[in-house]
Symmetry: C2
Subunit: 276 residues, 2 copies
Amino acid sequence: MPGLCGFPASRAERAQLAMVLEVLASPKPGNVDRCHDYAETRLEHFIVSSLAARSPLEAAEARSAGLGSLIEQAVRATSCHSGGNTHFGAFLLLIPLVYGGGVEEARRAVEETTVEDAVAFFRAFALTRVRVNETDELDVNDPGSADLLRRRGMTLLDVMAHSSGRDMVAREWTNGFVLCSRGARMLLEDPEPRTAVRRLFLSLLADEIDTFIVKKHGPALAEETRARARAVLEGRQPVGALDDWCIAQHVNPGSLADITIGAIYLALEEGWRWDS
Amino acid sequence: MPGLCGFPASRAERAQLAMVLEVLASPKPGNVDRCHDYAETRLEHFIVSSLAARSPLEAAEARSAGLGSLIEQAVRATSCHSGGNTHFGAFLLLIPLVYGGGVEEARRAVEETTVEDAVAFFRAFALTRVRVNETDELDVNDPGSADLLRRRGMTLLDVMAHSSGRDMVAREWTNGFVLCSRGARMLLEDPEPRTAVRRLFLSLLADEIDTFIVKKHGPALAEETRARARAVLEGRQPVGALDDWCIAQHVNPGSLADITIGAIYLALEEGWRWDS
């Protein structure tokens, strides 16, 4: 039966597929998965957001607007449920990757962003409930930010560079999508595709400090999460214990989930057979 | 945030939403849900099938082909995974409902089906692994069936009428989508939308003989399933015990899952707020 149809046939469809394969992978310690919801944000919000993302992803594939405006479109299109922010960070990765069609082209696209892309991005940011550093002068809730961006001549890539020290998703813009690319290679090399996403997620969790955890809880808890994931990866602790600990501590590695989506997307672009 | 965007904005999107809300509802005794996969068919197959169904559902909304051909398109489009048949029965309901835009219009559309619709439907059927009565002279695997249909002048509605005694999905074509409509009313009247789908499914299971169970296991086990669901509905047995029993007996009430999808779709057409 597989192969009778062409799904996913487009970059937009591969991006949607990446979004659902990420959230359906279980267990993903601390994050929404098949076995765990948050009170406000549930599995169905992520799935519905993946359905609702189609038009903006198709717009990105058609390059019908700039990256900032496309990100804003994606955030608006997926604000159709009561689950709050589901895929904001994922769109920061998927929109340039889908727009470009590959890492090299995405890298060129982010280099060509403008001040108006930055302004549109801040409008998108203001739509989400993403936690921000409230003392930052580039406050997304401050209507003066647009003026400030224009006065300083900051492009969207400049904004990402400004955030890259404390935000691993922004950092992907400045380093050429390094983590997404590394994750894609892991998926392509994994001999068991059906469970590869959860192994990728755990591996990222054991290797990287999730900057979303840092923003929410500070660096110590983020480092403890990484160390505990390392213990799971090395077989010194069961994954269920890490999941329980994350939930008790309100630790959700949201940025690594975004990176995972970017990695799945790039793997699918390389022909990864998720269902084989 | 909800209301900023228009998803679901079209009949096709409402049909996709119905497909994902059905499969994500848990617990649904005996069927694939958040907590249960079959070895061959897993939750992600149903979700991916829902993503892949977009084009044929949009074709149904645009009335760009006849119902038989549209059903064939939907089955082909969703044969993109290794999970076997996921939504064949659902498409038998969704395609005419989306084509029509409402129950009355769907009823007229099925009355206007032709012999060529029937021939296309049999091609679609042959693509699935749906269990059929192998002694039936209208054998879907028999290349002679198309000739037989043409000789007898059987339309797709005639084929459904031929099957309606032993197939509750086919029966919906002949009785004006009665069960789907009743299910939609239950959803619209349920005070707790977020868990309404699982209550609808259990209620259908307690009231109706699932004809898919009859075909697979015979009428006695189907009736026992109904009686056990009745005991759960009346609080005489925990739902988990029914789920365990279904799984042990290999009882999966697949036709009632299809009816549930049709019901969710009709409720969404009436403005049902699934996330409120």
